[in-house]
Amino acid sequence: MRVGLFVTCLVDLMRPSVGFAALRLLEAAGLRVVVPRDQTCCGQPAYNAGDDDGARRLVLRWAAAFADCDYVVVPSGSCAGMLRVHAPRLFDPVSREGREVAALAARTWELTAFLVEVARLERPPGSYHGRIAYHDACSGLRELGVKSQPRQLLQKLPGLSLCELPGAEACCGFGGTFSVKFPDISVRLADDKCEAIRASGADAVVAGDVGCLLHIEGRLRRRGDQATRVFHVAEVLAGTQGEGPWT
């Protein structure tokens, strides 16, 4: 079985450790993973800006890069939602392109959902000593139903105690380009999230999307909270959290 890792722009640029953590997890499940060189972006920024033509071009590039994969795994609910739910809608369903994109979309998974439902990973390699709060990033939660899977996996880690974040399903305010088009509202929503994190008593906040994490971490630090740690769920599960940048 050939599993393609779609790294996503933000992981590639901002947090490569998430990509390596995803690799480690997939390999721990006994899978052979390929990372196609020609991948760039899922097209979501264009799609959400109303630029369907741009989105189509990027989706086709993605489909070409991953055509020979049995599965595409994405360490982001938002990019996985774009590819799985929205990408097929951009094409005429009976066209050759439309059928290919739809078929690949159906084989595309958010990382934690894939690990639980397809790869059936029993023992994630990580361990964590402390209390973490899991934030349900919106697209993964509402477009793909990612809710129990990350929690199931996290609960298997020795030493980890998972606490519920008040309003865990409320948007953190990132919203892709929303975060810079409407920065005041975006930051207000981040504040609500920061308060919830504090109220939860967790020492780390964990989510499945680097976009939300950059936004939450950025606001935590600006508010003067240097203590709360911020991880992608893959980093915690792989046990690579805090190992620092891979340079």
Binding site: F20, V35, N48, A49, G50, L58, G173
Partner: protein
């Protein structure tokens, strides 16, 4: 009502700085969100009711012309007069005509968002007809000369103290601050108006085609008084509000109050059918029903058509993180929140409402709670598509999108520049590991730090075999 939606950004900023508004929004959000969840749990199978309700709305909209004609025939047979209004000016003209014909000098109103949409009060007052809002919230807003900030709870942005001040100034009675006392005061003031009004004006939650009835839900009983005491009753609503049967209306009523206020049923459900009969003692002598298009029929067959299913419960705004941060006034017209971000461009014009479709994180909570399953984020994207095609977004934003898109379509160039970019950012951040300022990225860094990138991209590390 003037469209001020293009000033969303400025108005939102003002709203964010208002601690009273924040407190008010938090209070109602908690009440409505929890109330809705609890009320829906009373149903055996909420998902099935929702699917049924959605199917009812879709069936009507697919043959709207036929159902409206059926409604008109039934209503007319029971003595009502049905008027067709193309736009706001039509409604104003029709109501003023009716008022003149019946010598109306005073009208009492029950709450109606469509009357806000057509700016009816201003038009009637200009024609010399006194208008008194009788819904408590709308009455408060009439005194304050403010538009509603929520379609169900119009005055949620005001505190009890502000209302106490307003009443003290207008009622010439000692200032009081307890809710019961304030309500009693408003009641005492409004009672004589009901008795002396010549015309009652209401909206309609549903129009029942099989009986020609107008159905309205209220909690205060003012709707009953406004439709039974005055000689003339005028109901104004959008053409999309028709449903085939009483049974269908009953299905939708299982969802409307639950989704709106968390009530199993509203205090009053009024089913108004025809004029007062020969041997009847209640009801108006004249019953006029005005059906407004104002852009609705234009939506049929377009990507925005599902918004016509809307039953105006307000659940989308109650669950919207953006609405809950900035309140309803920031949206700048009659309808706020996610449904307003679609209706305002649809009815008032995209160029006048351009920022609204973008003012959403697309978190999807609105679609999740919509009782008639309107895919609101998809509709917002459809409007963004129209904005994109009409070049309505700022030039800088379009240029950045175009550049990024070109780059992302050339993987080698993209990866090369990405590698350079992250080195630069990492160097700028230094050992601190984050950036508090970044030229050109002020929109991000004004309120947040930017956690610094690792300095090497994933692809660079992976493809050079530098795997950990």
């Amino acid at each position: 009502m003037d469209v001020k939606s293009m000033h969303f950004l400025r108005n939102a900023r003002k709203a964010l700085a208002d601690p009273t508004l924040r407190q008010a929004l938090r209070r109602t959000e908690a009440k409505f969100v929890q109330g809705r969840a609890e009320a829906l749990r009373e149903l055996d199978d909420p998902a099935a009711v929702r699917a049924h309700a959605t199917a009812i709305r879709d069936e009507v909209l697919a043959r709207l012309d036929a159902w409206l004609e059926h409604f008109e025939a039934q209503a007319t047979a029971r003595g009502a007069t049905v008027h067709w209004a193309e736009d706001a000016a039509d409604v104003q003209r029709i109501v003023i005509d009716i008022a003149r014909r019946h010598g109306v000098r005073k009208a009492v109103k029950s709450k109606s968002m469509v009357s806000e949409e057509v700016a009816l009060n201003e038009a009637l007052e200009a024609a010399g007809i006194q208008v008194v809002e009788s819904d408590l919230g709308e009455y408060i807003l009439q005194l304050a000369h403010e538009p509603p900030s929520h379609i169900v709870a119009p005055v949620l942005h005001k505190t009890r103290d502000e209302i106490a001040d307003l009443f003290a100034a207008h009622h010439h009675q000692p200032r009081q601050t307890d809710i019961a006392g304030l309500t009693r005061q408003a009641r005492d003031v409004l009672r004589p108006h009901f008795l002396s009004a010549d015309m009652g004006i209401t909206g309609a939650n549903f129009l029942i085609a099989e009986t020609g009835s107008v159905l309205i839900v209220t909690n205060e009983g003012n709707g009953r008084l406004a439709t039974t005491l005055p000689r003339v009753h005028v109901a104004i609503t959008g053409i999309e509000k028709v449903v085939p049967t009483l049974e269908d209306a009953a299905t939708l009523l299982r969802l409307l109050p639950r989704s709106a206020t968390g009530q199993s049923i509203t205090n009053y459900v009024s089913l108004l059918t025809g004029v007062r009969g020969v041997h009847e003692r209640d009801g108006p002598e004249h019953f006029h029903i005005i059906l407004l298009d104002n852009g609705r029929s234009r939506l049929a067959g377009t990507a925005l058509a599902p918004i016509l299913r809307c039953i105006r419960c307000g659940a989308c705004m109650n669950h919207c993180p953006v609405y809950q941060s900035v309140g309803g006034h920031a949206y700048g017209w009659v309808y706020p929140g996610p449904m307003g971000a679609i209706l305002t461009p649809a009815y008032a014009g995209l160029e006048r409402a351009s920022p609204l479709p973008d003012a959403s994180t697309l978190c999807g909570r609105c679609a999740q709670v919509c009782p008639v399953d309107i895919p609101l984020p998809d509709l917002l994207r459809a409007l963004r598509r129209a904005e994109h095609q009409a070049l309505l977004r700022p030039r800088r934003e379009r240029l950045l999108l175009w550049l990024w898109r070109g780059l992302a379509c050339h993987p080698r160039l993209y990866h090369g520049l990405a590698a350079l970019g992250v080195r630069l950012l990492a160097a700028l951040a230094g050992r601190r590991g984050r950036l508090s300022r970044l030229p050109g990225a002020g929109a991000w860094t004004a309120g947040r730090d930017l956690p610094a990138p690792a300095g090497r991209t994933f692809h660079e590390l992976y493809h050079r075999g530098r795997r950990p």
